[in-house]
Symmetry: D2
Subunit: 237 residues, 4 copies
């Protein structure tokens, strides 16, 4: 059994630079030829971002491989437009015993304050460390109990799809995710809690963590687009 407190993301492939997004936009005016100067690209993308002309930002693509728990995939997979997925299948192969347990950093954000209404998500309180050690010990025991039953169910010959029903949503699963810059910005505007964002959002702490890593990759490949998007309050065009 492996217990992890973080999530892995790696870049698989990428297509289309900031310049390419600008070229796609310039087809509107017939200027999509030749290699543009950077200040021209910045000027155009800034205009598009501000005026919410979104389609030019679809002419790029990024594929990443992410390994994270099922409870996070449940949220991520709800993004339908401009996203393609291929995920590890518990019907084709037994899942590996890799589970999520909150780390020290998370402990600072996991408790609800006195009088907190349970219907309000997104709270981030304080959890004493000794309290958390205890919680994680119980959690690991539950993970172990469930996974052992899973192995036993596979052993007696129950089919994979049915054997898995006892597995907890804290188990890890890998998935290829392909998306275009426009969809990525839309995703990030909802899944990263940034104080400077124009629209407030309250993702779960874990989702926020993996989304920030995703944003780093996005910013690496499309630095101009990313900066302009941030400057415009992180509103997807």
């Amino acid at each position: 059994m492996i217990f992890k407190s973080d999530f892995d993301i790696e870049t698989i492939q990428q297509m289309g630079t900031d310049n390419m997004l600008a070229r796609a936009a310039w087809v509107s005016t017939g200027k999509d030829v030749g290699d543009p100067r950077t200040e021209k690209v910045v000027g155009l993308l800034s205009f598009l971002m501000k005026n919410r002309h979104g389609t030019p930002f679809e002419h790029g693509s990024l594929t990443v491989r992410i390994n994270m728990p099922i409870f996070l995939w449940r949220e991520w997979h709800r993004h339908r437009v401009g996203f393609s997925y291929n995920e590890e299948s518990a019907r084709y192969k037994p899942l590996d015993p890799v589970f999520y347990q909150p780390g020290e950093e998370r402990a600072k954000h996991s408790m609800k304050p006195e009088g907190f209404k349970p219907s309000k998500p997104g709270f981030r309180g304080l959890l004493p460390n000794d309290r958390q050690d205890c919680d994680n010990r119980d959690l690991r025991a539950a993970y172990g109990f469930a996974y052992n039953l899973y192995l036993e169910r596979l052993r007696v010959g129950i089919d994979n799809g049915l054997a898995r029903v006892c597995l907890p949503v804290g188990i890890y699963s890998a998935c290829y995710v392909t998306a275009n810059p426009r969809s990525i910005m839309h995703f990030l505007s909802l899944r990263v809690d940034d104080p400077d964002a124009h629209f407030e959002t309250h993702p779960q702490w874990e989702m926020d963590q993996i989304a920030r890593k995703y944003e780093d990759i996005f910013a690496f490949y499309w630095p101009i687009t990313h900066q302009l998007w941030v400057e415009n309050g992180r509103v997807a065009p």
Copy 2:
């Protein structure tokens, strides 16, 4: 704790009859006015189905409320085009203790035969009933163990989103699903194993069960479309 072996689906609202789909198609030829005779509708929809003109079948809508385990939602939610979802949120409210255990009918389909390769999904073997009783007893114990820990985690004040990580994928969750006839046919062509289908498909037994109930509702509201789709080998136009 409640243990269920079936899945609930109820119709919430519906829009657009077979006649309406035909009218939408007739706008192409300017004949979309007045109330058409049934044989005309059958003739047109048959032509559209056979020649894979899919768009007219998008001018209807069906909303259902389904209550089924998370491991099934994980598959259903992968249908992105023409599907809208709103699901019970474990971040907003504690999930109820309702869990899936296979019933008698499923037992007949749950064991892998000798020499069966685990990488091949969709197998449906035989499981002796006493074997299954034993399996379900273990399963219920695991569900109980996980759910009690979940309650404890909520009690000590861990936030909802983090408390849930120990919950198994066999727990039930409710969701509103809105889709159009074209998307529904596409879904059914992959999620119901019908011997007369033009293209073979191997859904998990549980998915096949709920998809058949969904098909019944679809056939009730769009009887002509459904029959023509069946006659054309269940290939979505």
Copy 3:
């Protein structure tokens, strides 16, 4: 030959009230049962709108039949997500001789001011009425010339798809359009120029006209949603 200066839109069918959108959202908290009080619905939809929870607004549907010129369809059809279309086909039937000519109201908005840069769309200047009469006379002549050639091409037996190439983009075409409230709001946020909108937009005058009629229908069926959307700066959730 018919010359029109306006565009027709009629409601064909509709599904889902404001209450239904609220019910779809309440499945998240398990309160999606019974008939809610109006102030509860307003409160919930207001929260969803403000916090950009968009999915509940997808559980409704509206089909309209619109008759407008091809140059407007060219823009409208670029809306891909949550929109379904079936349009009159010039391959199946000869198009009728109905053409767009700007009316008096449009004249006030059709001239570019001195020094106006042609690359900037959305201008709305003044055109003297006598000037416009003259322009429309020329326009009608061009429409007549093109349509007569079209008839001749059909008469000598050129196939419909090829015969049409001489037809101008000012010719009318009818189309069924089905969309959900979320998609409709997104469309309206780009296609209606409203001074109180949070994000500026510059649709062509004609698009603005037909989009306002579409907005009236939307507001009729979903009055609460519409009002909240307006109050939130016409930003689609």
Copy 4:
């Protein structure tokens, strides 16, 4: 004035090989690592194609720039899923005087036979060459008439969006098109008339021409996927 009888398509950028599509599929079984042998890739993609597992074919992307008449764009833009577009805008810039006239090859397919019902599209009859010369002369005259009026309307200061209404659908327009292999296969299954296709289709001759060029590019970048798709009757997975 330029009169063309063909359509231009050029590759702008591409991402993801056949190997990459296979790797995306292998994440299901955890074998998405290392460089696979070609026969393995062929075996897997063949299985996916036959069993209509479509999602792995979404992890690639192709951007092309196409220059073709508006009446063809009207059809192409109806493909919504997995397609992104940026097109030349007659609101931002005056359109160039480039128009479509059928060439010799087309002449062989442009006449309807005796007794042909006009409601049936897709006919391909015979047109004597002298007949066509005459038709094209008339067509060029109509194009010239319309374009001169367009220039005049721009000259007197009518705004671009309104000035264009007299332009014929035979005028050329350039557009960037980005799509993934799955969407491309779906497009080609409807827009290329191939005698060996499992499902018959009747695109207009001109659409068939440009779609075949698009297919050549697709086959160049994904030779294994293309061949398997052809072998499976050109049915998109």
